[in-house]
Symmetry: C2
Subunit: 246 residues, 2 copies
DNA sequence: ACCTAGAATTGATCTGGGTCAAGGATACTG
DNA sequence: CAGTATCCTTGACCCAGATCAATTCTAGGT
């Protein structure tokens, strides 16, 4: 269980304060939020919310990675969202969850009791404004992903995922652009397959192929080095940028 | 060119007034909107907005169907959204369009000049609230579609699309649930293929197969009858509902 | 150091849907 | 009412990625 005491100090030391749903709130508003908020942690693999369950809270990912997943009766599953620190979980105004939310790594969440949060959303435009912004970004990311799922080859899909993960990591670490890019894969091969609409065998084969071709260098199974990021983008089939992940 | 005079009467006679982004506005707010609004019509096949272009306006689809489309350099295209009457076009706060918007049928739009609209959004929470609601719905639809693109077979994809189009039509015509469902396909085979991540040949083959198996009855190439909607849902692989389209 | 279990790789084979190609069906135009 | 353009269907063949089946890594745990 992750130690939560380091967070209870309050919002002024919160690592996601500038990007989360509360980013625009002033001191008063943060005070009100504080009264309906609590922290929870989840271990890797644990399901945070089951699809169909009543949602008691909404909230933000503080640290770790979670995934939104949809499953058909016969077991086929598709990941429909990757939730990173500062991303918002839950849908105000809806009683029941529509997707499974699963902790991919250990996760700490900042939760708000749902009903009071919804009330507050009506009264404080700062929250709704920020949530709209974040939701529009997520919609863009989802649409970017529809192109990946619908039209890209397996190799392009892997390259797309790696470029997103790498870009995200670079943004976090403030790394320079042209230098070598290094990061750890936060996903298992199976999770990547669920994200990409592939089988885990195909994921494995394509990663091996990218390694053989020198597009990436692997150290162990998870540690990735990208010697030439532009090369990776070319492999992803992205004309220019390759889209963002919220 | 569609006759626009029937709309200039104002918002009180607008067919989408209860579902569009202005749905929550009171009379004063509608007056303000009126001052920055104008109607435009587009013919089937015409591109309403080009990806990368500066966006001069945002707005609502009043009648007709448009599609959001993404294209790779080599020509592969993926439809990432289907815009129906009352759906919102454009992203406030963004200068350049990220997708092509193409009129699938003849389309009439209610446009707002972008800059004044953005100003108004900050000042009148009713607009932002409604837009948030609509964006969340679209995000759900996009995620539903990711499952279709990533994990469903060609036959399931076609059945999914038909069930969405049928459901939408039924909602519009207030038809009873258990009776026969009849509607016209608003999309060409190629547009369906672009939506489903398939080729037009596969779309044609699967439609023929569904016809042969009695899941649907075709009259001409566009007029569809669904004798048993539950059967269609089963073919779509949807456990219960099959998801909504904004 | 050994044991176990999940994660990953790699090979062999199969198949759903893509590709290429040849017509049909409508509908508009002159 | 032929001429032609668009949309659609159908057939033959092929290949990317799925499926089935072993191994091989790697990280804990004892």
């Amino acid at each position: 269980m992750t130690d939560l005491t380091k967070f209870v100090g309050g919002c002024e030391s919160c690592p996601i304060q500038h990007r989360a749903v509360c980013a625009r709130c002033d001191a008063d508003e943060l005070d009100r939020l504080e009264s309906i908020k609590y922290y929870r942690s989840f271990e890797a693999g644990q399901t945070i919310i089951w699809s169909g369950d009543r949602m008691e809270f909404v909230g933000s990912i503080v640290s770790g990675i979670a995934s939104l997943t949809q499953t058909m009766e016969d077991g086929r599953t598709q990941m429909v969202g990757l939730l990173l620190p500062s991303d918002f979980v839950g849908r105000p105004g809806r009683d029941a969850a529509t997707y499974d939310v699963v902790a991919t790594t250990d996760v700490v969440m900042c939760c708000f009791r749902r009903k009071p949060f919804e009330t507050m959303m009506v009264e404080t435009p700062h929250i709704a404004q920020r949530l709209l912004e974040m939701t529009l970004d997520e919609l863009d990311a989802a649409r970017e992903w529809m192109l990946v799922l619908g039209r890209k080859t397996a190799r392009e899909k892997i390259a797309s995922l790696l470029s997103i993960l790498g870009r995200r990591d670079a943004a976090l670490n403030l790394a320079g652009q042209d230098q070598e890019m290094v990061f750890d894969l936060p996903l298992t091969r199976e999770a990547m397959a669920d994200y990409l609409g592939l089988t885990l065998e195909t994921v494995s084969r394509q990663i091996s192929a990218l390694k053989k071709d020198g597009v990436i260098v692997l150290e162990g199974k998870r540690h990735v080095t990208v010697p030439d990021f532009q090369r990776l983008l070319d492999e992803a089939g992205d004309d220019c940028d390759g889209g963002m992940m919220a």
